[in-house]
Subunit: 440 residues, 2 copies
Amino acid sequence: MPAKNVNDIIALCKRRGFIFAGSEIYGGMGGTYDYGPYGVELMKNIRDAWWNSMVYSRDDVVGLDAALITNKLLWKYSGHEAGFSDPLVECKKCGARMRQDKMRDAKKCDACGSTDLMEPRAYQLMMGLSIGATADGAVNAYLRPETATTTYTNFKNIIDAKPQKLPFGIVQIGKAFRNEISPRGFVFRMREFEQAELQYFVNPAEDEKYFDIWKTLRMQWWTDVMGIPANKLRFAPHEKLAHYAKAAEDIEYEFPDGFDEVEGIHNRKDFDLTQHTKSDDNKDSTTKLQYSDAQTGTTFTPYVIETAMGVNRCMFAVMLQSYTEETVGDGTRVVLKLKPALAPVKAAVIPLARNVPELLTISDEIVADLRKLGIGRIELENSGNIGKNYRRHDEIGTPVCITVDHQTMEDRTVTLRHRDDMSQERISIDDVKRRLLEII
Amino acid sequence: MPAKNVNDIIALCKRRGFIFAGSEIYGGMGGTYDYGPYGVELMKNIRDAWWNSMVYSRDDVVGLDAALITNKLLWKYSGHEAGFSDPLVECKKCGARMRQDKMRDAKKCDACGSTDLMEPRAYQLMMGLSIGATADGAVNAYLRPETATTTYTNFKNIIDAKPQKLPFGIVQIGKAFRNEISPRGFVFRMREFEQAELQYFVNPAEDEKYFDIWKTLRMQWWTDVMGIPANKLRFAPHEKLAHYAKAAEDIEYEFPDGFDEVEGIHNRKDFDLTQHTKSDDNKDSTTKLQYSDAQTGTTFTPYVIETAMGVNRCMFAVMLQSYTEETVGDGTRVVLKLKPALAPVKAAVIPLARNVPELLTISDEIVADLRKLGIGRIELENSGNIGKNYRRHDEIGTPVCITVDHQTMEDRTVTLRHRDDMSQERISIDDVKRRLLEII
């Protein structure tokens, strides 16, 4: 059964080295987190699974990794500079600043209860930078608030480098930044976060078809690749569409506090390419962002179907879902029942006693052999405390522990201990590689 | 023979979709670059090769991925806030701003030749941010200028999550930001760049031993994994050591304009952990950053051996080195002789004629089969222009092209064409997977 509350995961993340608060030893930096040894590996495995599914498994999608620092003009024409803001309210009495739409009572300060509040003002969510040796330190660049716009502005670069036929897609995995007034929910709403986004360019006549196809594909990825049960996921159509959108639905995961967004699928029509193309309305752009169909001889602006996932939220959902507490004997076992391909450590090799040279030599051999598989992290545990090792590897989701004992020196067999049911099997050292590959 | 000048690579990068100028359609954003479809894959392969060598192949190194937005206090105690600046000179006549130590003549403006210059002032290289709903928009955070400091400040988090015995290391691959007055040399000196850094914590008595070990290991990685010939690389000891350093040597690659830095190896002593530990000199830190040796019962501050590589420079060097122009018949062939494991595309499958259903069906089968290997990008080329396809795949470094022709339908054989010597072999479809794995 998945975690009943978020605090279980937050505690596990700190205890076992998945996620720490950003700048922690200096009192933190709100809305930022540092990913520790196992968080790094889990994030990497999620990214790789996504890239594998979205790029390597397909003929029609290519990757991109655009800079985080961007010319202000991108966000003038995307509409972010004028419209990407939250309503900020300041209390005249205590000086507290709050997001109006998140206040407990829009008329009273959340901090001191005063009703003496300033009028709400638009608070820009983009983070400004002053780049180059400017005279006055004025903001002349932004950290990108999403990856999508930097994909649109590279549209022509990419089709010039290799001609593409519709439909085709461009993906990015990368950081984005939003100066949230109130970051919240652990890694759910951060100021610095990671997106995995596809912009899929289609003939306008086929937009609805591909919107539906991508809805299906993305939901399948969540269930089949991430291992989230279908009944914990749902589609949630947006109640109010953005002015440029023809359709928009979120994929929501059932967090302990209820369903909330982990991915969005949007039909953005030709809004973005039209905004950024060189035109009478955009004399700053140097480039036409259009598509020429060699067969029909027509030139037009494709529609865009976007799938936009939060990678941090994905990891959060995967951890919540795989977190399990089980009663074992008179104690409780915490185990992270991750899909083996996502596990931060693929196998742990554990000599039964510490610093026994013969056991260590065989263990080293097994470790070296497994590392040749190129399947990720293989850990050697030389603490001699097997109970503690099992417990730790259960909590970080290692699918199998391989124990080397005195019998190993006699018959070259080891014990394979399985994470989910704690069952053990005795197998030959020569079969370890094959069994591990079967499990992963 | 490698590229004779940088412009060959810049042109190839744009033409084939490796690297584009950042924010290009809006006139650019100095010192930033966007990585296109093949640049993304090459960077990913370099990162994976590094992580594989530094983390997955070892027992004593773990990963970390810290936030880019950081509390200002990190950089107060690291010394960056006071000392990380360049001398900026402004011309009173034309207003040009220049880095004094890079001026052609320190007494004359580079832009207009005037000698009427302002006194040089210290120009802060860190990029400031105003995070949260502050009243005045004052800078209260920095984008990190390197990854190392965010590793030191997580030292205790990491050893608390899993006890480590000296020597052990923590690595990060991630972005860093420096507001260079004059970015230069394509991706050589950027404002936004990527580092791959190891901080290896050692007993102070063993610092020199591990400094030498890491020098050797890192040089081996450049030659054996990146494929750079040893005579194009050299160690360059720093002429003047930083005040905290006991030893510092760069690994330099011979760029077309001469040897220049691609990695640094430093003995930083206990400077960083001491700076950031809670002490009388640092009352802002909440945490002791020290190491307790369970066997001897002593507590002390380890020394740090750092290896710091620029990932963008690494890709640049790898491309320069593998770039080759060859005379073929009456024309010139450009080929990127990358190590096959680094190639952005592992194989291209090419039906000899376009839109012939039988050829396409077999090609699709081969592609699907190769994709199951999980070795990266496999491309299907359905343009029917085999000469153009070979040329393109030579330029992006694809190790093999697999051509499907009419004979394939009769005897299920295909032509394997090798990138480096253009030799061709006819093999059975059933052997393609095995041959490709041999080559990669």
